[in-house]
């Protein structure tokens, strides 16, 4: 019996014949924490009696969730993490460098890696063929100390994609559609593996969007095979030596196969209060919005800012609708400046936030008021997610977000293109 991507990676890293359902111990290629889960990780690491990190050059701290800090206590958490980085010799990315998952994709992840992070959207690096998954602080603390962790080898759902996206339809619409089909717990404990002829036309930016939201269907990982797109991305990032071929066996066993012609997809929107509450954008058309948020590990990349800038070029946001834009990393920001996207967005009335998580999780930089509605390109619309349980959140692509900012209501982006 052949192996899925998940089984192949876990076989190589555990040095066992890993099959779905097995429990394996595997070496970790990269372990990371961020600033809202890192302090607990550090305390647990110390409480366990550990002093040294197993692989400091494979360990990273990211200050991105509260960045810059909005409160004294969060500033003190940053102090704790900076001190830990000095003590242990691990990497640290500072306030303004960007969202952890984008930085992992730009600088660290490679095909066949095992990556654990104390953040649920660690799955993002699956776009590069890394078995990347979110864990809690205890698990990451132990992974830091031992350089390894345990996994239950997941069963795999194969998502077989063909066709090319229609005008106005993007990777976000695809993954929202799939989550709507599977349900928010439809892939719990499973691996999602993406494949099919459509992949040749799905860019790394789009793959990162898709893998990022695998966890919103409950999945443990969202994996792509490596190919020319992977190789091209790594080369652009100056990491061509990180490339290696990675693909599933032709006779791999999949628990479920979902086939989809992506040409048939429409722009989608996820309605409150769960991510799987997905409909074509027409269902939410006309809903008045007070805030639009473009950014995050889901949709804060250069391609997202490019499409938003193209829609908002020489236009203005609706006067009663705030438009917040947070590039996912410093690299994205500088490229967006060079390409003129930032000027177009600012002239359209956008507020540019520093690279980081920004308004996504309700800490700062765009907390909603009572009764307010936000259209966000992020990945969660749970009650209270953006800092106020009396506010509501809709999720969509950056194109839908940009088109909606112009009208002040949820809008089909095809009407603005």
């Amino acid at each position: 019996m052949g192996k899925t991507l998940a089984e192949k990676i876990l076989t190589a890293k555990s040095k066992t014949d890993a099959k779905a359902g097995d429990i394996v111990i595997a070496n970790v290629d990269l372990a990371f924490v961020q600033d809202t889960t890192g302090p607990l990780t550090v305390r647990q690491f110390k409480e366990s009696g550990f002093r040294k990190i197993a692989e400091p050059e494979r360990t990273v701290i990211f200050l991105d969730h509260a960045a810059p800090s909005a409160a004294r206590q969060l500033s003190n958490d940053h102090v704790l993490l900076r001190r830990f980085a000095k003590e242990t010799g691990c990497y640290i990315y500072e306030v303004g460098d960007g969202v952890c998952h984008q930085l992992v994709a730009e600088h660290f992840a490679k095909p066949g890696d095992i990556i654990v992070g104390s953040d649920s959207h660690t799955v993002t690096a699956g776009a590069l063929g890394a078995f990347a998954t979110g864990m809690g602080s205890s698990d990451v603390a132990v992974a830091l100390a031992l350089g390894k962790t345990w996994f239950r080898v997941p069963e795999t759902f194969f998502i077989n994609l063909r066709g090319t996206f229609s005008k106005g339809v993007y990777a976000k619409d695809l993954i929202l559609y799939l989550i709507g089909q599977m349900g928010a717990d439809g892939a719990t404990y499973k691996a999602l593996e993406f494949g099919g002829e459509a992949l040749a036309h799905i860019t790394m930016s789009q793959r990162l969007t898709i893998a990022n939201m695998a966890v919103e269907a409950g999945a443990k990982v969202g994996l792509f095979p490596s190919d020319e797109v992977t190789q091209g991305f790594l080369t652009t990032q100056g990491r061509s030596d990180s490339y290696r071929p990675l693909y599933p066996d032709a006779d791999a066993h999949y628990e479920r196969v979902i086939s989809l012609n992506i040409a048939e997809l429409e722009p989608m929107v996820s309605l409150p209060l769960t991510v799987d509450n997905v409909f074509p954008v027409g269902k939410a058309k006309g809903i008045i919005i007070q805030q639009v948020f473009i950014g995050t590990c889901t949709n804060g990349r250069l391609e997202d800012l490019a499409v938003a800038a193209s829609i908002l070029q020489d236009k203005k946001r609706f006067p009663d609708t705030r438009l917040l834009v947070a590039p996912a990393s410093r690299q994205v920001l500088t490229q967006a400046i060079d390409n003129g996207y930032i000027r177009a967005l600012v002239e359209a009335g956008a507020t540019i936030l520093p690279p980081g998580c920004a308004a996504c999780l309700g800490l700062h930089q765009g907390v909603l008021g009572d009764g307010e509605v936000c259209l966000s390109t992020a990945n969660r619309n749970f009650r209270g997610r953006m800092g106020n349980p009396e506010a509501t959140i809709y999720l969509a692509s950056s194109a839908t977000a940009a088109a909606s900012a112009i009208r002040g209501e949820i809008t089909d982006p095809r009407e603005a293109m």
Partner: protein
């Protein structure tokens, strides 16, 4: 392992209780002050939760409990307010592992057969929940032996302090 039996009252919540509902991001500034953080446990899902939970009570939920963020603070605050076990129809993956790592048993069973306030007895050894109020007996799925061993030690940190490493499968002590 000798039989471990827990007794307590059910506090019933609904489906899709996210970690944002268990402990909202807006309280992230309290994450290094856990006793203060715990005062806000589940307040957006059930504002009466903290005031009515008694030490030893069980948190009983529906589908996909603990979905969302990997914040381990979610099971930490649930434990701190006195919950001794979590019962749900289904539990999100990261939360499941985090709760076990905090030494909080998580049992998957048909929680439709449990009402708010019911008295329950849980036999952790054979995974049977008895609803002492209704008389119903519910059987729960087994967790992998490694997770049982972590739970037995009271969580991942005490487990690692004891064993210094993961001990699995053939090497795991059979008890």
């Amino acid at each position: 392992m000798s039989d471990i039996t827990l007794k307590g009252k059910a506090i019933k919540l609904g489906d899709n209780i996210s970690t944002d509902l268990i402990i909202p991001g807006r309280y992230a500034h309290l994450r290094s002050n856990l006793p203060e953080l715990a005062k806000h446990a589940l307040e957006d899902a059930d504002p009466t939760f903290v005031s009515r939970v008694k030490p030893g009570d069980f948190l009983v939920a529906g589908e996909n409990f603990g979905l969302g963020s990997s914040r381990e603070h979610a099971p930490v605050v649930i434990k701190m307010v006195g919950i001794s076990a979590i019962l749900a129809r289904s539990v999100a993956r990261i939360f499941f592992r985090n709760a076990i790592n905090q030494g909080v048993p998580v049992l998957l069973c048909d929680t439709d057969k449990i009402s708010d306030g019911d008295k329950l007895e849980i036999n952790l050894t054979d995974g049977i929940v008895t609803n002492l109020t209704s008389g119903a007996k519910l059987s729960c799925g087994k967790v992998p032996p490694l997770m049982s061993a972590i739970l037995e030690e009271g969580g991942l940190i005490p487990y690692i302090q004891k064993y210094k490493d993961f001990v699995i499968a053939s090497k795991a002590k059979q008890s």
